[in-house]
Symmetry: C2
Subunit: 325 residues, 2 copies
């Protein structure tokens, strides 16, 4: 295996976040489940946007946030995802390229608009996400450059991509290319409802094709349909090569073979908006792995990145993560 | 004069801000004058955007920010400004309507895109603004509903509108309608370079058509081409009915006939981004006037609004101003 041009190549839904404050009454009125992500169509996106308060637009997308984190640590990243050629698509592309992430996927010139995620942040700092996938549904196998994939130490993908059938085919092509080149494959389970939708496929992937799995506690429990964290850990250990499981204020637990490390959460003066916590955790962990750090250090880097991003509105780092380690 | 449906009807350049951090070296390299606003064409907007870092998109525009402030105080506002029917135009319209500002100006269906202001915030919290006016140049007299203008206690306009000839005609039509209905007319001088461009017209307006003038210290000095603040005050007193002059950390001075009040600045724990300070000062002052408050209280409300908006990134209030008074 040759040395890698990129530490990580990420594949994800290319989304611009629209973040607004809301109270619990708003969530109740619109039947939204706090802390979850749901998919909405264009009509519902317009309806909900019309009802919600004034917002801030910031580039997002789970994997896009992770790649921003890797770049902020000083890592080398590439991103594959589909926007449309429109104003929000231009914003998304600009924001990734401006931080040094190699982003070459051609924008769609027709079809649905660039994806948006309407994020409602409640006073308890929890985020509730409503995603209109738009142009993301146009990502397909032709967007995967197998030569580029082979130049990345790790290919990292979102579980969310399973919601777009052609995107899933793109992911499987990239996974094959990575394995053929002797590279690593990593996945995040994304969301417990997403796990419910694709449980069997995700479990098979973890057993057969994936080297590093990211999940939060709820997702790990949902994957193995168990009610205790210990049972989820035991099941994950039996099937995954490397796993990192985040537990909010309880920190994270990382597994590799017989090795288990539990790392406490970094202190945060005030939690403002938890959007992106898991995405940024993955960025620190993957950056650590790429630099050959011990498992506990990878988990610590993940915690540092997560702590930074929950301290402010928006899911990408405001301060250079390289200065925080 | 009947009671007013709106406290204030504002007319302004309808702009979405793109805010990114930059250092002094970046300003130097691109020959930008810190703290100023300059107009750029579409090509320069693309070039500068390509060079600047990852950004946050937030609805802005000087007068739009002021109207957001008035709504946040609990005031009743209407806004007139021109966007194009595109993604950023939808964002601008949504954000005003979501806070209760009546915004009915039809979006342009062709021509240039919705205006953007590329704002570079340096570590000293100063903002340097680069405005592509886009669709704002399409605002014209036909966009002024004289019946609506007559329903507003005060019509408030930006000096920046003089940069678009048709918009200036729209403003003059609105001023005439306001005077005919026995309403007040207010203007902000916007920027010292803007004052340099339209000095004679602004002075004539203040003498003949305007009831309330807003300026910062630099703009007031530029208007009368004097070097001391005292000389600027004396000149303003001789020509303006009511004037409010802001002085950053020195607070503000308000004039009405022989009355002069100096009000200290509100304390701010950390100045993050001064974008919108003058716009929000105007919102508090105008809200106070609309509620019949004494001059000193109007200036104090202006200071409270300015202090809130410079405590965070973005030029519109994050906390309800009605809770801060």
């Amino acid at each position: 295996m040759s040395s890698a041009k990129y530490d990580v190549l990420g594949i994800g839904n290319a989304i611009v976040d629209v973040i607004a404050r809301a109270d619990d009454g708003f969530l109740g009125k619109h039947k939204l489940v706090k802390g979850s992500m749901r998919l909405i169509d264009e009509g519902e996106a317009e309806r909900l946007y019309g009802a919600m308060g004034a917002g801030v637009e910031i580039s997002g997308g789970s994997c896009g946030n992770t790649m921003a984190g890797i770049a902020s640590f000083g890592g080398r990243g590439a991103y594959v995802g589909k926007v449309r050629r429109d104003q929000l698509g231009d914003v998304f592309a600009h924001d990734l390229r401006a931080i040094g992430v190699d982003f070459r996927t051609p924008a769609a010139t027709d079809g649905p608009a660039t994806a948006r995620c309407l994020i409602l942040v409640t006073p308890d700092a929890q985020r509730t996400m409503n995603t209109y996938l738009g142009a993301c549904t146009r990502l397909g196998p032709d967007d995967i450059d197998v030569g580029q994939v082979a130049e990345a130490g790790t290919v990292y993908v979102e579980g969310y991509l399973w919601d777009a059938p052609a995107a899933k085919q793109a992911v499987l092509k990239a996974m094959d290319a990575a394995r053929a080149a002797g590279r690593k494959v990593s996945i995040t389970l994304s969301d417990s409802f997403c796990v419910d939708r694709y449980r069997d496929e995700f479990r098979q992937l973890i057993r057969e094709r994936v080297d590093i799995v990211f999940a939060n506690e709820d997702e790990a429990k949902a994957l193995y349909q168990v009610s205790s964290f210990e049972d989820a850990l035991a099941a994950m250990r039996a099937e995954a090569k490397v796993a990192a499981i985040t537990r909010s204020e309880k920190g994270s637990v990382a597994l590799r073979g017989g090795e288990t490390v539990a790392v406490p959460a970094q202190p945060v003066a005030r939690v403002v908006d938890t959007t992106g916590a898991g995405d940024l955790y993955a960025s620190g962990f993957l950056f650590g792995l790429a630099r050959g750090k011990p498992l506990a250090e990878c988990a610590r880097l993940g915690g540092i990145a997560a702590a930074e991003v929950i301290s402010h509105v928006g899911a990408r780092p405001e301060r250079p993560l390289s200065e925080l380690v």
